[in-house]
C-alpha cells in the first residue's frame, strides 16, 4: 500500500507525449521573392530576386525583369554581377521617378511570374530647416547641431514619412596648371539622434534608456519612420541632433589641389505608403530580436505587396533641404588632408 502512488505518479510523468502534426502548408513549395526600393532621389534602382523556400533562399538568376512606368514606358532591368552585399540576384535599371508615377515591376522566371505595383506618393514638404549649435552633453568641446526641420502635411490624407540625414562635401578641384577646375561631390548617409523628438518616437516601444531589464532589446525606430497623427493637415517641427563632425569629410580620391570646399547637411524627408511604413516597423522588430520567431516575443507580420510571390517593393518620394555648414565652425582638418594652395 505504501508504494501505491508510484504507478499514478509515473503515469502522469511518463504519459506526456510528443507527436508530429502535418502542417499542410506546402513544405518547400518554391515562391518567387522580389524586393526593391524605388526612390525619386535616385536614378539607379535595383530589384533583388530570390526563390523563397521553407527554410532557405535561393538566388534567381536568368529572370526577365520588366519595369513599366505609368502603363506605357517599359524598361528592361539588366542582371548585375553577384554582389556580396546582397544575398540575392540583382537586376538594375535606370529611371527618374517623380511623385504620382505608377510603377509595375514584373519578374518572370520560367513558369514563375510575380509582379508588384506601386505609386509614388505626393511628398510631404520641407518648409524650412533651422539649426542650433549645442555642446554635446557630457562631451566638453564637442559640438552638436540640432536640426529643426519644419514640415507641412498634405491635407486630407494620412501621410507616412521617414527622415534621414546625409553629409555632402562639395569640392572645387584645380585639375591643371591653366586653372581648369573640377567639381566633385561626395554624399553619404550620416547618423543622427531622433530619440527625443515626440513625433518620430510616437508609438515606439520602450527602448534604450528604459529602466526595464530588457528595455534595450525593445524595438526602436531605426529608420525614423513616423506618421502625421500628431500634426494632421498642419505643420510640425522635427528635432534631430547630430555631431558637427558628421558633416565634415576631408577625403577626396584625387590629388588635385582643393580651391573651394563646402560642407552641407542634407535633410531628406521620404514620403511613403502606409504599407511601407508598416514594413519598416516590422524590420525594427526583426532587428531588435533577430529575424527568427521567438517564444517570448510577439510574432511580427510582414507586409507583402508582390502578387504571385512574396516580398516588398517600396516607392518613396523625397523632399530635401541642404544646409551649408558655416566655414567658421569647421575645425581645421588634419595636416595630411590640408588643401594644397601653393602658398605653403
Amino acid at each position: 500500500m505504501k508504494k501505491a502512488w508510484i504507478p499514478f505518479a509515473a503515469l502522469f510523468l511518463l504519459a506526456a507525449c510528443e507527436e508530429e502534426i502535418d502542417l499542410q502548408i506546402g513544405n518547400d513549395a518554391p515562391v518567387l521573392l522580389m524586393n526593391a526600393q524605388l526612390r525619386t532621389d535616385d536614378t539607379l534602382h535595383a530589384v533583388v530576386l530570390n526563390r523563397s523556400l521553407l527554410s532557405r533562399l535561393e538566388l534567381l538568376d536568368g529572370a526577365n525583369v520588366t519595369v513599366t512606368v505609368n502603363g506605357t514606358e517599359r524598361i528592361a532591368a539588366t542582371p548585375r554581377e553577384k554582389n556580396g552585399y546582397y544575398n540575392g540576384s540583382l537586376y538594375c535599371f535606370r529611371a527618374d521617378f517623380k511623385a504620382g508615377d505608377h510603377v509595375r515591376i514584373d519578374a518572370v522566371h520560367g513558369e514563375e511570374h510575380a509582379f508588384a505595383e506601386v505609386d509614388f506618393p505626393e511628398p510631404v514638404t520641407i518648409v524650412s530647416v533651422d539649426t542650433v549649435r549645442t555642446e554635446m552633453p557630457g562631451y566638453y568641446g564637442y559640438w552638436s547641431y540640432q536640426f529643426r526641420t519644419r514640415i507641412r502635411d498634405i491635407a486630407g490624407i494620412d501621410n507616412y514619412c521617414r527622415v534621414t540625414m546625409e553629409r555632402l562635401a562639395a569640392y572645387e578641384l584645380e585639375t591643371g596648371d591653366a586653372g581648369e577646375r573640377m567639381h566633385w561631390e561626395d554624399q553619404e548617409r550620416t547618423g543622427f539622434d531622433a530619440s527625443s523628438d515626440p513625433i518620430i518616437s510616437d508609438g515606439i516601444m520602450a527602448s534604450s534608456g528604459s529602466d526595464d531589464l530588457f528595455g534595450d532589446l525593445m524595438p526602436g525606430n531605426a529608420y525614423c519612420a513616423f506618421t502625421d497623427r500628431l500634426f494632421r493637415d498642419g505643420d510640425c517641427t522635427l528635432r534631430v541632433e547630430a555631431p558637427l563632425g558628421s558633416f565634415v569629410s576631408y577625403y577626396t580620391p584625387f590629388s588635385y589641389p582643393v580651391r573651394e570646399r563646402h560642407f552641407y547637411a542634407v535633410v531628406k524627408l521620404y514620403t511613403m505608403s502606409l504599407y511601407q511604413y508598416r514594413y519598416l516597423r516590422a524590420i525594427d522588430n526583426f532587428e531588435a530580436f533577430g529575424y527568427e520567431m521567438s517564444f517570448l516575443v510577439e510574432p511580427t507580420s510582414l507586409p507583402s505587396n508582390v502578387k504571385g510571390g512574396i516580398g516588398f517593393v517600396s516607392a518613396e518620394t523625397c523632399a530635401e533641404a541642404r544646409i551649408l555648414m558655416p566655414a567658421s565652425l569647421i575645425p581645421d582638418e588634419p595636416r595630411y588632408y590640408r588643401p594644397v594652395t601653393g602658398e605653403e
Binding site: 502512488w5 507527436e19 502534426i21 513544405n27 524586393n35 533583388v48 521553407l54 532557405r56 516597423r281
Partner: protein, 812 residues
C-alpha cells in the same frame, strides 16, 4: 453614512406601503435546507390559484424571498431543484413572514419556477445559466478532481483555453474579461497548476451562476462574463464534514454550529504537494537538482443569525501555488592545470521559486428593513500577488581565504482591492422587483518590479554590495472604482417580463475620470405553454486589464489599470433566443449573440512579453473585437438521468487599426473555435451507484507560424533572411476532443456517514490533444534526387493523455 442609508430605507418603506395595492399583502421569509439550515438560492415560491401563468417569486442570493399577493385564502408552493416541495395553505390578512425549510430529495425532481428568477430558462435574462452543483461534483475531470470552472467550460458559448486547463473564454472574449466573484468579491487568479485546477473547492460552494448575455445591471467591471459563486454558510443544526484522498490532492471540509441556529462555521481545505512524489522527481532530474510544487486552498466562513432581520457573514479565502527549483553543485581542483597550482574547493547553490495566489476577506451584513426591502452590505479585501525569486550563492575556498558571491533576484507584481458595497432588493409592487445599490473599490496595482541584490566578499574579506532595480519604481498605481446601479424586473401582464437597468460607473485613475453609462435591457415573452423568446442588450465596461502574450499564458501575466492613454474596454452585446421547457424535466434553448468590443489590449508585434512593464502602455495597442455565434442547449434537469448537450457555432476576431498588430487587418482570435460540442450525462444506476460521462469537441484554436523564409530589404540596402509570417494566428490547430468517464460508489454507514469511491478515466480513448506546439526543421534526403529537402515540422506536446484516477471521500 449609515444615517443616510437608514433614512433612504425608511423612505422606501413608506413609499412601498403607499405603493402596495389595496387588498394585497406581502409574504416574505427565508427558505433553508431542513438538515443544515443552509439558505437556498433561487428557490421558488408559487401562488397556486389556478391562473394560466401563476404568480411567484424566488429567493435572492441570500435565500430571502418576498411575494405580494391578494389577501384571502392562499396556497403557496415552496420548491427547489433536488428538494421535496412543500405546500402551505393559510388565510392571508396582513403582511406575513414565513420561513420555510425544505428536505432534500434523493432523485432530482423538477421545479418549475416562473417568476423573477436570476438565471436559467425561466429568468428574464439571456445567457444566464445556473450550473447544477450536482453536475459540478459528479463531472469526471482530470485526476478525478471535481472543478467548478471545468464544469462551466462545458456550457454553450464558453471555451477552455489550453487543453485541460481551467481558462475561460466566453463568447469570444479574453481570459481577463470574466468577473469571477466569490460571495460577491472578485478573484483575480483562479488557477492552480497553470490552470489544471481552479481555486474553487466544490465542497465549499453552494451556487454557481454564469451570466454571458444580457447582464443584470448589478454586475459590472468585465465585458464577457460574470461568474457568481456563492459559498456555504455552514450547518446551523449539526456538525458535518468530509475528507477526501485523491491521486493529486487531499481535501477536507467541516461545518457545523457554534451556537445552534445562531452561529455556524464552514471550513474547507485542499492541498497538494509533490513531496510524496519526491523519489520519482529526484530519479528523473539530474544529480544535484530537485524541483517541487505545492498548492493549497483554505476557505472559511462564519455565519451569525443575530435576528430574523439581521444576519452577518465573515468569509475568508487564501490560496497559493509555489514552484521551487534547487541546484547544488561542488567542484575541487587547482587554479592552474599544472601541478602546484593553488587548490580550491567551490560550491554553488541556487534556489529558485515562483509563487502566486489570492487572499480574500469579506464581511457581509444582511438586513431586512421591511418585508419588501432587503439589504446586503459587504466590505472586503482582496489581494493577488506573484513573486519569482532566485537566490544564488557561489563559495570558493582557497588557502588565501574564502570568496563568496551571492545574487538575490526578486520579480514581483500584484493587485490589491479594498471595497465596500451595498445592494438592495425592493418590491414596491407585486409586478416589480427593483434591485439597486452602490459599490466603491479602491484598487492598488503593484507593478512589475525586478530587484537584484548582488553581494561579493573577496578573499581579503572586503565586501561589496550592489542593489539594482528595474521596471516600475512606483510603489503602486491607484484606481477609484465607483458604481451605482438600478434594475427593475417588471411583469407586464401574464406573458411579458422586462428588465431594464442601468449601471453607472466612474473610474478615477491618474487624475483622469472615466465615466461609464451602461444601459441594460432584457425582455421575455411567453408564447404558450413552455415556449418563450427573449431579447436583450447590454453595454459593459472594464477598467482593469491582464497583459498576456498571444502565445503563452503565465502566472507572471500582469494586471494593469486603465490610464490616461489606455481607455476602458467597452462592449455592446445584442442577443436573442428561443426557449422551450414544456416537456417535463427538459429545457431547450437556442440563443444567438453579436458582441462588439472596443479598446481591447494586445501586445504589439515584436514585443518582449516579460520584464517590460516600465512603459507598458507603449508596448500595447488598443483595438476592436467582434464575436458572434449561435448556441444550442438541451438540458435534462430531473430524473435518474440528468445532463446536457450544448453546441456552439462561433466566430471571434480582432483588429488593431493603428497597424502595429497584424498590419491593422482583422485576424482570428487565438481561441476562435468555430464549433464546439459538450455532452454531460449523469445516471443514477442504483441508489448507491452513479455513472458520469462527458464528451467535448472543439475546433482547433489558432496560432502563428512562419510559413517560409523571406528576405527583408531595409532602407540602407541590407538584405536579411527572416521568417515570413503573413498574418497573426495564421494557422488553425487540429480539433481536440475527449471522453471522460466516472463512476461513484456510495457506501452509507449506519452510524458514521458515507464513504464514496470514485473511479474516473480522463481522455478515455487517449486522444492526443495539444497542450503546446512548436516548430522545428527536419532535413530529409530525397531517395531519387539524393538531395536534401527541408521540412517544417510542428510538434505538439500532449500532457494529458489517458489518465485514470481514483479518489475516496468520506462524508460524515
Amino acid at each position: 453614512m449609515r444615517k443616510w442609508i437608514c433614512a433612504g430605507a425608511a423612505l422606501l418603506a413608506v413609499l412601498s406601503a403607499a405603493a402596495q395595492p389595496r387588498g394585497t399583502a406581502t409574504v416574505s421569509g427565508y427558505i433553508t435546507d431542513l438538515s443544515s439550515s443552509e439558505t437556498l438560492i433561487g428557490a421558488g415560491v408559487l401562488l397556486d390559484n389556478g391562473a394560466r401563468v401563476p404568480v411567484g417569486a424566488v429567493t435572492n442570493p441570500y435565500g430571502y424571498y418576498t411575494l405580494t399577493i391578494p389577501k384571502g385564502d392562499v396556497r403557496l408552493q415552496f420548491s427547489y431543484v433536488g428538494y421535496e416541495s412543500q405546500m402551505r395553505r393559510f388565510s392571508l390578512q396582513r403582511d406575513t413572514v414565513i420561513n420555510i425549510t425544505l428536505a432534500p430529495s434523493e432523485v432530482l425532481s423538477e421545479s418549475r419556477i416562473v417568476a423573477s428568477k436570476d438565471a436559467g430558462i425561466q429568468s428574464t435574462y439571456l445567457g444566464a445559466i445556473e450550473v447544477p452543483l450536482a453536475q459540478i461534483q459528479n463531472t469526471p475531470v482530470i485526476f478525478g478532481e471535481a472543478d467548478v470552472l471545468k464544469a462551466i467550460q462545458m456550457m454553450p458559448g464558453v471555451q477552455g483555453g489550453t487543453e485541460g486547463t481551467a481558462g475561460l473564454y466566453v463568447r469570444g472574449g479574453g481570459p481577463d474579461e470574466n468577473l469571477i466573484l466569490m460571495d460577491g468579491v472578485p478573484i483575480y487568479n483562479v488557477d492552480h497548476m497553470l490552470g489544471l485546477f481552479s481555486v474553487f473547492q466544490p465542497e465549499a460552494v453552494k451556487k454557481v451562476t454564469l451570466y454571458k448575455g444580457s447582464f443584470p445591471a448589478r454586475y459590472g467591471g468585465r465585458v464577457s462574463s460574470i461568474i457568481d459563486i456563492r459559498t456555504n454558510d455552514g450547518n446551523m443544526k449539526e456538525t458535518h464534514g468530509s475528507f477526501g484522498l485523491g491521486v493529486v490532492s487531499q481535501k477536507f471540509h467541516l461545518e457545523g454550529p457554534i451556537l445552534k441556529d445562531k452561529l455556524s462555521y464552514s471550513l474547507s481545505a485542499r492541498g497538494m504537494h509533490t513531496a510524496i512524489f519526491a523519489p520519482v522527481i529526484k530519479a528523473l532530474m539530474p544529480k544535484g537538482e530537485y524541483a517541487n510544487y505545492f498548492f493549497y486552498d483554505l476557505t472559511g466562513k462564519l455565519s451569525w443569525r443575530l435576528s430574523d432581520n439581521d444576519r452577518f457573514f465573515l468569509g475568508a479565502y487564501s490560496g497559493r501555488d509555489k514552484f521551487g527549483l534547487h541546484f547544488d553543485d561542488a567542484a575541487e581542483g587547482h587554479t592552474s592545470s599544472l601541478e602546484g597550482g593553488d587548490p580550491y574547493r567551490s560550491t554553488n547553490r541556487s534556489d529558485m521559486d515562483l509563487h502566486w495566489g489570492n487572499d480574500v476577506a469579506s464581511l457581509r451584513w444582511n438586513h431586512l428593513f421591511s418585508n419588501r426591502l432587503f439589504a446586503n452590505t459587504t466590505v472586503s479585501f482582496n489581494r493577488y500577488k506573484m513573486h519569482m525569486g532566485s537566490v544564488t550563492l557561489d563559495r570558493t575556498v582557497m588557502e588565501k581565504g574564502t570568496r563568496t558571491v551571492s545574487y538575490d533576484i526578486g520579480y514581483r507584481s500584484g493587485i490589491r482591492d479594498w471595497s465596500g458595497k451595498i445592494d438592495f432588493d425592493y418590491v414596491p409592487m407585486p409586478d416589480h422587483l427593483v434591485k439597486f445599490g452602490a459599490e466603491y473599490i479602491y484598487h492598488t496595482f503593484i507593478p512589475e518590479t525586478l530587484t537584484i541584490l548582488d553581494s561579493e566578499t573577496d578573499y581579503d574579506g572586503v565586501t561589496r554590495n550592489d542593489h539594482l532595480e528595474f521596471g516600475n519604481t512606483k510603489k503602486g498605481y491607484y484606481g477609484h472604482d465607483i458604481s451605482l446601479y438600478v434594475e427593475d424586473d417588471i411583469s407586464v401582464g401574464d406573458r411579458l417580463s422586462v428588465n431594464p437597468g442601468v449601471h453607472m460607473a466612474l473610474f478615477l485613475t491618474d487624475g483622469k475620470p472615466y465615466w461609464g453609462f451602461q444601459p441594460r435591457l432584457s425582455a421575455k415573452y411567453a408564447f404558450f405553454d413552455g415556449f418563450s423568446c427573449k431579447a436583450g442588450y447590454a453595454r459593459m465596461a472594464q477598467y482593469v486589464h491582464l497583459l498576456c502574450s498571444a502565445q503563452v499564458s503565465l502566472p507572471i501575466d500582469l494586471w494593469v489599470p486603465i490610464t490616461r492613454d489606455i481607455r476602458p474596454v467597452t462592449s455592446d452585446q445584442y442577443s436573442a433566443g428561443f426557449y422551450y421547457d414544456g416537456l417535463k424535466g427538459w429545457e431547450f434553448s437556442v440563443e444567438g449573440y453579436y458582441k462588439d468590443m472596443r479598446n481591447i489590449l494586445e501586445y504589439k508585434d515584436g514585443t518582449l512579453v516579460i520584464a517590460s512593464s516600465k512603459d507598458w502602455e507603449k508596448n500595447v495597442e488598443m483595438g476592436q473585437g467582434r464575436a458572434m455565434g449561435v448556441e444550442f442547449f438541451a438540458q435534462k434537469t430531473a430524473g435518474k438521468l440528468t445532463g446536457w448537450l450544448a453546441y456552439t457555432l462561433a466566430k471571434s476576431e480582432r483588429r488593431f487599426p493603428d497597424g502595429t498588430i497584424n498590419m491593422g487587418e482583422w485576424f482570428p482570435y487565438k481561441y476562435d473555435r468555430r464549433h464546439s460540442v459538450d455532452l454531460s450525462v449523469n445516471y443514477a444506476i442504483t441508489r448507491n451507484i452513479e455513472a458520469n460521462a462527458t464528451w467535448s469537441f472543439a475546433s482547433g484554436g489558432t496560432t502563428t507560424l512562419y510559413t517560409r523564409t523571406t528576405a527583408v530589404l531595409d532602407p540602407e540596402g541590407s538584405l536579411e533572411e527572416a521568417d515570413f509570417v503573413a498574418h497573426r494566428n495564421n494557422y488553425r490547430l487540429p480539433p481536440s476532443h475527449r471522453l471522460n468517464l466516472g463512476i461513484s460508489f456510495h457506501h452509507p454507514h449506519r452510524r458514521w456517514g458515507e464513504g464514496i469511491w470514485n473511479l474516473s478515466v480522463y481522455n478515455v480513448y487517449n486522444r492526443m490533444n495539444p497542450n503546446f506546439v512548436y516548430l522545428r526543421y527536419e532535413s530529409v534526403r530525397d531517395p531519387e534526387t539524393r538531395e536534401f529537402e527541408t521540412h517544417l515540422i510542428m510538434s505538439k506536446i500532449t500532457l494529458l493523455p489517458i489518465l485514470p484516477a481514483i479518489s475516496y471521500t468520506f462524508k460524515f
